[in-house]
Every structure is written in structure tokens, then in C-alpha cells.
């Protein structure tokens, strides 16, 4: 039996069936059966997702989808059950599979009552996330996108830490749902124009400029897409929900709260369906990304609440990725996608560690801690490794991503001014500052108020099992990044110069003077049909089989 034709459905079904079964098992106090069940289900899912990199065809054509499953579901409107992965989503699926068992282990003791509800919702969240990464039908995708809100909202509302939980849950839901409603209008408009929800078809149409000739409508449509995703990321001015939600959500939920879903959606749908509009708006997003990096880092610097600190550091990190992907260079996009993986892993480790501290000392207030290094040598080791990965120490994974992103930003023809790259780079410095300062305040110095009076204990076996895989991955991903890059690059290269394939013919007569194309950034006002003007000249030249003109890409500044 060849698994390749059904593996994606199996990946979706495993947690779904698991959630159904767990919901039927009655709950008894002090009973770990739901946690054990959830662990088994998530491990099985992880095993299934590992099938993907194993059998992924790295030599396949760029931008093609593998493990394709495509069958009709609803006739009118034409909705298909269409799943598939490419270089972009493959590792994200594995990532989602990998984080789930860690999430279960992190909740092992943290969630004591209503475990049935918790693990059922957790697995449903897992289904929605995997569905988002796998769906290639716009409509199916939208279903999972909305579905991802519900378990998360309930997790926050039910298992929140303080009395503020209901407000935080509703805030989270509204922030995400209202733009999604507008996204639905945009999708319906697309459907009205093209008669299809199928992503590959829409991409092909977009490449031929065949979706609509109404530029205003296309613009509004692309903005609707972008806004819905930007909230979920969150991109700088739309981050209002993040800190509340992070503060309230239990560790397992916080690990999947921000970042990857929104960023993936931008890469897949905004870039896929609106390649031109995305390039036109890129300078703005680069600016917002840079602002987000600095803003998040500065706010993180002054927090005294550990969860808030982690929330703003998340904002800073995802803004880094935004900066990377909107450079529209192969390096920037590759680095961005790689950094999505890193950010999720580092964020997961950080939140798990904070959760461990909270389990022991019952507070997130940084001022209550201090001098823990002597009490918990293992924990401090893990904290330091995570911190170093987060701040981008060479040889650890964060370095690879940040390096690629910043090099991409330097090369990009879209970054409005080198100023933004510089602002972005400060994030690295601030990042090191607040993370290391946090370590210093928690683990070194005198014993704090709380850390003195509570006994506490070092990592137990289960906690070792949670953290070691993450720590090893930080190192492996820092040293052997090509393993991951191989697949990611097949997407990144295609996304960075997608319009070239179409525009190459058009710009051939003009390619003798590609420098004109660099008289940029009047970006928004340029008519949309000149997409070729925004293509990296070397890439454009490569596409028409000519040697690249000797342009120093940084020199324009």
C-alpha cells in the first residue's frame, strides 16, 4: 500500500479521531487517562507527519504540490477537498506535529481539573492547525482557519490564569474573527470572478493577470487577505490581543498562539494569489516589520511580568520574519520560513520553561525571582540554551534565520531605505539585552523573595523529555540547516521571483536597461501591470537566460 496518496488525510484524521475518543472517555479526578491518550495521539500524528520529509521529492518542479489529494466535496459552490504540501508547508506540518507531544507533556501536571475538555480542545486545535497548513482549497482553508479560533478561545476562557481570562478570550476571538469576515468577502469576490476556490488554479490565473482587470478591487481584496493574516501574526499595529492572550493561555496553547499560522497564510495566499500587490505593499510591511522588531524588543525590556516579556519578545521575533519575507529575495524568504520554524521551537521552549517556573513558584513576576542557578542547575542550562538560540548565537538555529533575513533585507529592492534594515538589526541587540537580563534576574544574584521561601525542585524526568529534543534541535538546525533549507528553498526561490516567469517575455526588449527598474520606491502609485519592474534584475535576467547585469544590489542607497 502506498501511503503517499492518503497520508495527509491520515495526518488530519489522527488528532480528530483522538479528540472524539477522548471526549467519550469519562473523567475522574486525578486520572491521567486523558493526558496519556492525548500523548499517544500526538505521537502517532508526529510519526505520520515524519512520513512527509522522508518521501518528499526534492527534485520536483518548483511550486508543485506533493502528496496531492483532490476530490470534489460540494458541487455548488465548487469546493474541493484538496490537500497538498510543498517546500513551504512540509516542515511546518512536521513542526506542528512535533510541538503537540511537548504541549501535552507541558500540561501534564499544569492542568489538573477538566482534563477531558482540555485535551479534547487541544487536539481540535491541532486538527485546525494541520488543516491550515495542508488545505489547498481556499474554502477548505477558510474552514480550518475559523476553526482554529474556537478551541483556542475556549482554552483561554476556561483555563486562563487570572480573572481576566474571559476578556482575553473574547478579545482574541474578535481581533481574529472580524478581519476573517472581511477575508470571506474577498474570497467570495474571487470566487465570483474566477469560479474556483482552488489555490493552484488561482495562482496560475494570478500569474497571467487573469483574475480581474479591476485594479482597485484587486487591491482591496489583497488588503483584506493581508489584514486578516496580519492580525494573526501579529504585525505591529495589530498586536493588541497578543499580550493578554499570552498572559492567560495555558502553556500548551500559548506555544501555537502566534506566528506560524498567520505567516504561513501570508506566504501561501497573499503571495500566491496577489504577487503584484504584495510586492507593491512590501516597503510598508518592511517598515512595519522593522518597527515591530524594535517596538517589541523595547517593550520586552521594561516588563516585570515574565509572560508579558515573552509576549513582546514574540512580537519582536515574528516582526523579524515579516521583514524577511517581504524583502522578496530568495534569501529573505528562505530565512523567513526557516525563522518561522526557529521562532516556534524557541518560543515553545521558552514558554515551557516559564511554565515550569510557574509550577514551582506560582508567579510570573520577575522581581520575585533571583539566584535560582544554584538551586536548579539543569533548568538554568536549558534556559541559557534557549536564550542563546533566541538571540541568534552562531551555531544555533536562530543565527541562520536572522542572518539570511538581514542579508535578504540588504539586497532587497523593496526595502524603502537601508534605515529599516538598521532598525531591524537593533532588534538583535535589544533581543540579547532583554533575554540575557531576564536570565540574570531570575537565576543569578541573590535569592529572591519567592525563590527563597519556596523549595522548588530541578527538572524531573518528564521535563527533561520535553526540553532535550528542543535543545538538540536548536543545535542541529544551527549546524545542518541545509537539511531543512533544501525543501524551503524550493519554495523561496519560486516565491521570490514568481512574476518573472510570466514577465520575462515582456521585459526582454527592455532588459538592456534594467537599472531603470530600480528607480523605485514610488511603489504604491505604479500601475499594477508592471509587476516585472519589481523583480530583482539579476533574477529577471536569469529567467531570460542572460548573465546577470553587474548591479551591486546594496549600492542604490
Amino acid at each position: 500500500m502506498n501511503l503517499d496518496h492518503s497520508i495527509l488525510t491520515l495526518i488530519l484524521l489522527a488528532p480528530l479521531v483522538g479528540a472524539g475518543v477522548l471526549a467519550l472517555i469519562p473523567e475522574r479526578a486525578g486520572n491521567k487517562i486523558h493526558a496519556i491518550g492525548a500523548l499517544i495521539v500526538t505521537l502517532v500524528t508526529l510519526g505520520l507527519t515524519l512520513h512527509l520529509p522522508w518521501h518528499f521529492n526534492y527534485a520536483a518542479a518548483r511550486g508543485s504540490f506533493q502528496f496531492d489529494q483532490n476530490c470534489p466535496w460540494i458541487a455548488s459552490p465548487a469546493i474541493r477537498y484538496h490537500l497538498g504540501v510543498d517546500g513551504l508547508s512540509m516542515w511546518l506540518v512536521v513542526l506542528a506535529g512535533f510541538l503537540a507531544p511537548i504541549g501535552v507533556l507541558a500540561s501534564w501536571n499544569a492542568v489538573k481539573e477538566r482534563t477531558k475538555l482540555f485535551y479534547t480542545l487541544f487536539l481540535l486545535q491541532q486538527v485546525a492547525m494541520l488543516g491550515i497548513f495542508l488545505a489547498l482549497d481556499l474554502f477548505l482553508y477558510y474552514g480550518f482557519w475559523e476553526l482554529s479560533l474556537v478551541p483556542m478561545t475556549l482554552l483561554i476562557a476556561t483555563f486562563g490564569r487570572t480573572e481576566n481570562r474571559r476578556k482575553a478570550a473574547i478579545k482574541f476571538f474578535l481581533y481574529a474573527f472580524i478581519p476573517s469576515a472581511i477575508l470571506l468577502v474577498a474570497m467570495l469576490w474571487l470566487y465570483a470572478r474566477t469560479g474556483t476556490f482552488d489555490l493552484p488554479t488561482l495562482q496560475a490565473l494570478a500569474a497571467q493577470h487573469a483574475i480581474s482587470t479591476n485594479h482597485t478591487a484587486l487591491w482591496l481584496c489583497s488588503l483584506a487577505f493581508l489584514a486578516a493574516f496580519a492580525v494573526k501574526v501579529p504585525i505591529f499595529p495589530l498586536h493588541g490581543w497578543l499580550s493578554d492572550a499570552v498572559q492567560e493561555a495555558p502553556t500548551a496553547a500559548v506555544m501555537v498562539l502566534a506566528g506560524k499560522l498567520g505567516l504561513y497564510s501570508i506566504l501561501r495566499f497573499s503571495f500566491g494569489i496577489f504577487p503584484e500587490q504584495s510586492r507593491h505593499i512590501a516597503p510598508w510591511l518592511i517598515a512595519l516589520g522593522a518597527i515591530g522588531i524594535a517596538y517589541g524588543a523595547l517593550l520586552a525590556l521594561i516588563q516585570t511580568d515574565l509572560k508579558k516579556l515573552a509576549a513582546f519578545s514574540t512580537l519582536s521575533h515574528v516582526s523579524f520574519i515579516v521583514l524577511g519575507i517581504f524583502t522578496f529575495t530568495t534569501m529573505g524568504i528562505d530565512g523567513g520560513v526557516y525563522q518561522i520554524l526557529n521562532e516556534s521551537l524557541v518560543g515553545a521552549a521558552l514558554f515551557v520553561l516559564l511554565g515550569l517556573l510557574y509550577e514551582r513558584y506560582g508567579t510570573y513576576d520577575i522581581r520575585d525571582y533571583g539566584g535560582l542557578a544554584t538551586k536548579h542547575p539543569w533548568m538554568v542550562t536549558m534556559f541559557v540554551i534557549t536564550t542563546l538560540a533566541a538571540v541568534g548565537l552562531p551555531m544555533l538555529n536562530g543565527f541562520v534565520g536572522e542572518f539570511l533575513i538581514l542579508s535578504g533585507a540588504m539586497q532587497s529592492v523593496f526595502s524603502y531605505h537601508i534605515f529599516w534594515t538598521v532598525v531591524g538589526t537593533t532588534g538583535v541587540i535589544f533581543g540579547a539585552a532583554y533575554m540575557l537580563w531576564m536570565i540574570q534576574r531570575i537565576f543569578y544574584g541573590k535569592l529572591g523573595l519567592r525563590s527563597e521561601e519556596v523549595k522548588g525542585w530541578d527538572l524531573c524526568a518528564r521535563e527533561h523529555v520535553e526540553l532535550w529534543p528542543l535543545a538538540i534541535l536548536f543545535l542541529v538546525m544551527g549546524l545542518a540547516s541545509p537539511v531543512w533549507m533544501q525543501a524551503i528553498d524550493s519554495y523561496g526561490a519560486a516565491a521570490a521571483n514568481r512574476p518573472v516567469a510570466v514577465e520575462a517575455v515582456n521585459i526582454e526588449p527592455a532588459s538592456s536597461e534594467p537599472h531603470n527598474n530600480l528607480t523605485l520606491p514610488c511603489a504604491q502609485k505604479t500601475p499594477c501591470n508592471q509587476a516585472g519592474a519589481f523583480v530583482d534584475p539579476s533574477l529577471a535576467a536569469a529567467a531570460v537566460n542572460k548573465p546577470a547585469p553587474p548591479v551591486n544590489k546594496g549600492a542604490q542607497y
Partner: protein
């Protein structure tokens, strides 16, 4: 079977059932359980549903059947609504079997009135003669007026009933006035004849006024803003299972009449009435959602939400006929499934004496009644319009039809509104799953869920889910319903059967 009898078969079965229940009621000794009457009513409703299904087979085989001098027309459209109404009433009856158990029981009347009400609603959907529609409207309205006040001895119940009666009579007066003006303008009250002569009428102003009056009258019935003021008070005072029924079945019937009237009788004035419908839709959505934001009482909250849903449904009317009928029918079905379900669960959660009323009373309910709370959560998610539920596809078809026909602004207003709407649904949902505000808030010892009520709730949940996962089956039915609603007018609207001279003479 004679054709005439056949066309009204479901209605006749229900009427006979109602009469039998009334006759049998005095034979049961006072203080004894009235449940057998309930079962009789349930059997009758089931039989009428089967009769409607039988009609569907006939219609499938040989096209629409008309009877009683072409005042009644059985087509896929009417059969769809017959099936819908009979299922709503069936589910409501099942759920209220135990509701009216008590020392002073009027359950017999209740079961009979439900049957009569259903008869009236069904009658509305299959009449193609406005006066017959009016009779159906009256039958259904009078039954629901009484049902609204069924929690006897409570001030809110009397208020509910009286308010419903007064404002409802007002509405029927408007409707009747519209019919009269329509007759003035066209010389007929038959839908086919009106359509034929509207094009040649010498008094278009009168015709417009007539259309506006009919829309207003039906607007009251579907509680579209600005004719919605009765809704919150009536829903608050009426017994919860009755609210479930009367927020869906009479509305479905009124929407059916509106569809038939606007698309069959007055397609020529589409450009005019579409403005009216747009205004009603925007007002209903906005007022409904904003009003619901401030409610603490769960039934009032759902009352405002039902106003908003009437608005979403009206958005469907702005499409071209084919889409509009399909979308509106689908939405009616989806809305019926989820709203009836929500009210049935609320009936169970708040207790038959309706102790739990406000959102605070429902806080932490998931700890005590996890299954029912999860179902209420599911219905609320469907009302929000989360994918894989019936509510989602209802909104989807309505708004995509509007976008197809260029009403993008309307769709954006609608979807922004559904964003606002999720705020109050979520407040209730989050409350269900939050920890109780007061630990001593042990409202009632969890009452065991009666089997019939359980079946009813499960049926609503399955229907809501099925409409969200496999909407094709229902969609096929409603799409087939479309062309038959307008037998000839889409092709040749010109042939006039009645001399349009009469009104012109009058105006001279």
C-alpha cells in the same frame, strides 16, 4: 385521491389531529398526565410531514399540482416549507412533552394550538392567492399569540402575549391593506394575475404602495427592523420551547410568502422593492446586533440575534431570483435548525420553571451539564457562522449571491455585522465554560434529560451539522424549488388574463 384533497393533505392531517387532541383533552381526568395527547400531536405532525414528502414524489413525477380553483399550488417550493415547518413543530412537540407537566396543566390546548399554528403556516406557503395567504397568516398568528402567553400566572407571559397580539394585528392590518391596494392596482389578488397585470397597470404608484404595505406586514412577522420592537419582550415572556418554534416556523412561512410575492407577483418592480429590502436588511442586521450587545437576559439576547438573522436572510433577496430563492430557503432551514436547537437546550439548562435567565446564571454551566453545554456551544458557533455548521453555509450562500449581483457593500456590512455578533454569542459561550461567578449558584439539581427532548436536541444538532458538511442535498432541493415558483412569468410576462380596465376606471 381527488386533486383538491391532495393539495391540502398535510394541512388536513394537522387540522384533524388538532381537533382530535381538543376532543380527547376533556376525557383525561384532571391531574393526569397529558402526554398521550402530546404523542397524538407528534404522530399527526409526523404524518403531515410524510404527506408532504408524498407530495414531493408527485411533484417530482408530474410537476406542480394546483387545486381549489388554482388558489393552492403544490410545488417543490411549498413542499420544502411544509417539510421544514412540520419538522420544526415535530421537534418542538418532542421537547415540550415534559415541559408542561404539572398540577395545573393546559398541555392539551398547547398541543392542539401547535398543530393549528402549523396548519396556518403551511397554508401560507402553498397559497398563490393573497387572500388565502391572509387566512393562513391569521390561523398561524392567533395560535402563536396564545402560545406566547402560555406560562400562565406570570406577568411577563401576559405582557408577551398581549404585545404580540396587538402588534401582530397591526401587522396583519398592513398586510390586508396591501392586498386591497394590490387589488386596486391590478384587479386581482391572485399572484399569477397580479404579475401579469402589474406591467400594464395605469397606477404604478398604487402598486408600489401595495408592495410596500405587503413588505411591511411581512416585515413585522419576520421581525425585521424597524418593525422588530415586539420581539425581545415577546421572546422573553414566552416559554422557551415555544420561542424556539415561533422564532423559526412563522418566520419561515412569512419569508416564503415574501419570496413568492416579490419574485412571482412583483418581479417588474424589482428595482423599487430591492431598495426597500436593502434598507430593511441593513437596519435589521445593525439594530439586531447592536441591541443584542447590551442584553444580559439570554432569551432577549437571542431575540435580538433573531432580528439580525432576519437581516442576513433579507440580504439573500437582493440576488437574482434563482439564487435568492435557493439562498433564502437554505438560510431558513439552517436558521431553523440552529435556533430551535439553541432554544431547546436553553429550555433544559434553565429548568422548566426558567430559573436561569441571565448570562450570569449560565456561567459555569459546562461543569454541571457538559453535554448540553457543548451542544449549546455548537449551536452558538453555528449562529456565529463558523465553517462546518449550517449557519456558515446559510450566510455563505446569502452573501455570495449578493456579491455576485454587485451588492458588495451590503455583503461587507453584513459580514462586519456578523463580526459584531460573535461578541455577544461568545460572551454566552465563554460564560458557559468559565468558572461560576458565585460558588453557591447551585440553581437546580441537574434534571435528567427526558428521552424525547434528547431526541429533539440531537435531531437539531445533526441537522445543523449536516447542513454544514453536506449542504448539497438540501441545496439541490431548494434549487429545484426555484423555477417552479414562477411558472410562466420569466418567459412571457405580458399575457393578461384579467382586464386591467377596472382599476383605471376607478382612478378616473
Amino acid at each position: 385521491m381527488p386533486t383538491n384533497l391532495l393539495t391540502l393533505l398535510p394541512e388536513i392531517i394537522l387540522t384533524v389531529t388538532g381537533v382530535l387532541v381538543m376532543l380527547a383533552e376533556p376525557m383525561i381526568a384532571p391531574g393526569k398526565s397529558r402526554k398521550p395527547l402530546g404523542w397524538l400531536a407528534i404522530l399527526g405532525t409526523l404524518a403531515s410531514g410524510l404527506a408532504a414528502f408524498y407530495q414531493l414524489q408527485l411533484v417530482n413525477a408530474s410537476g406542480p399540482i394546483s387545486g381549489f380553483y388554482a388558489t393552492i399550488q403544490v410545488d417543490a417550493f411549498s413542499v420544502f416549507f411544509h417539510l421544514l415547518i412540520s419538522s420544526i413543530v415535530l421537534v418542538t412537540l418532542l421537547a415540550s412533552l415534559d415541559y408542561f407537566e404539572g398540577p395545573v396543566s393546559h398541555a392539551g390546548e398547547y398541543f392542539a394550538l401547535a398543530c393549528f399554528g402549523a396548519t396556518g403556516m403551511m397554508f401560507m406557503t402553498c397559497s398563490v392567492e393573497l387572500l388565502m395567504v391572509f387566512i393562513g397568516l391569521e390561523i398561524s398568528s392567533i395560535s402563536t399569540y396564545i402560545l406566547a402567553g402560555f406560562r400562565k400566572g406570570q406577568a411577563t407571559a401576559s405582557e408577551s402575549s398581549l404585545k404580540y397580539f396587538l402588534l401582530g394585528s397591526f401587522a396583519t392590518a398592513f398586510f390586508l391593506y396591501g392586498i386591497a391596494l394590490c387589488f386596486g392596482a391590478t384587479g386581482s389578488t391572485s399572484i399569477g394575475a397580479i404579475a401579469a397585470s402589474l406591467g400594464t397597470t395605469a397606477t404604478p404608484a398604487l402598486a408600489l404602495l401595495a408592495i410596500a404595505m405587503v413588505v411591511i406586514g411581512l416585515g413585522f412577522k419576520v421581525s425585521a427592523a424597524p418593525f422588530h420592537v415586539w420581539t425581545p419582550d415577546v421572546y422573553q415572556g414566552a416559554p422557551a420551547p415555544v420561542v424556539g418554534m415561533m422564532s423559526t416556523a412563522p418566520k419561515a412561512a412569512a419569508f416564503a410568502v415574501l419570496l413568492r410575492f416579490l419574485f412571482n407577483a412583483a418581479p417588474m418592480y424589482r428595482n423599487h422593492w430591492i431598495v426597500l429590502i436593502e434598507i430593511l436588511a441593513v437596519l435589521s442586521m445593525t439594530i439586531g446586533n447592536l441591541g443584542a450587545l447590551m442584553q444580559r437576559d439570554v432569551k432577549r439576547l437571542l431575540a435580538y440575534s433573531s432580528i439580525a438573522h432576519a437581516g442576513y436572510l433579507l440580504v439573500a433577496f437582493t440576488s437574482i431570483q434563482q439564487d435568492a430563492v435557493a439562498a433564502a430557503c437554505f438560510y431558513t432551514a439552517a436558521y431553523a435548525a440552529m435556533n430551535v436547537g439553541a432554544f431547546l437546550v436553553i429550555t433544559q439548562l434553565s429548568g422548566y420553571d426558567e430559573q436561569a435567565r441571565t448570562i450570569d446564571d449560565f456561567t459555569g454551566m459546562a461543569l454541571k451539564r457538559p453535554g448540553l453545554s457543548a451542544l449549546l456551544g455548537f449551536f452558538l458557533l453555528s449562529l456565529i457562522g463558523i465553517p462546518f455548521t449550517g449557519g456558515f453555509f446559510g450566510k455563505f450562500y446569502a452573501f455570495s449571491g449578493a456579491i455576485h449581483n454587485g451588492h458588495v457593500v451590503l455583503a461587507i456590512i453584513g459580514l462586519a455585522n456578523s463580526g459584531v455578533a460573535c461578541f455577544y454569542y461568545l460572551r454566552l459561550l465563554a460564560a458557559l465554560y468559565a468558572r461560576p461567578v458565585r460558588e453557591d449558584a447551585t440553581l437546580l439539581s441537574p434534571r435528567k434529560l427526558a428521552i424525547p427532548a434528547g431526541i429533539a436536541i440531537a435531531a437539531s444538532a445533526v441537522a445543523t451539522l449536516a447542513l454544514g458538511i453536506m449542504p448539497n442535498h438540501v441545496l439541490n432541493l431548494v434549487q429545484r424549488a426555484t423555477p417552479e415558483t414562477l411558472p410562466a412569468f420569466s418567459v412571457a410576462p405580458a399575457v393578461s388574463t384579467l382586464p386591467p380596465a377596472a382599476p383605471t376606471e376607478m382612478t378616473r
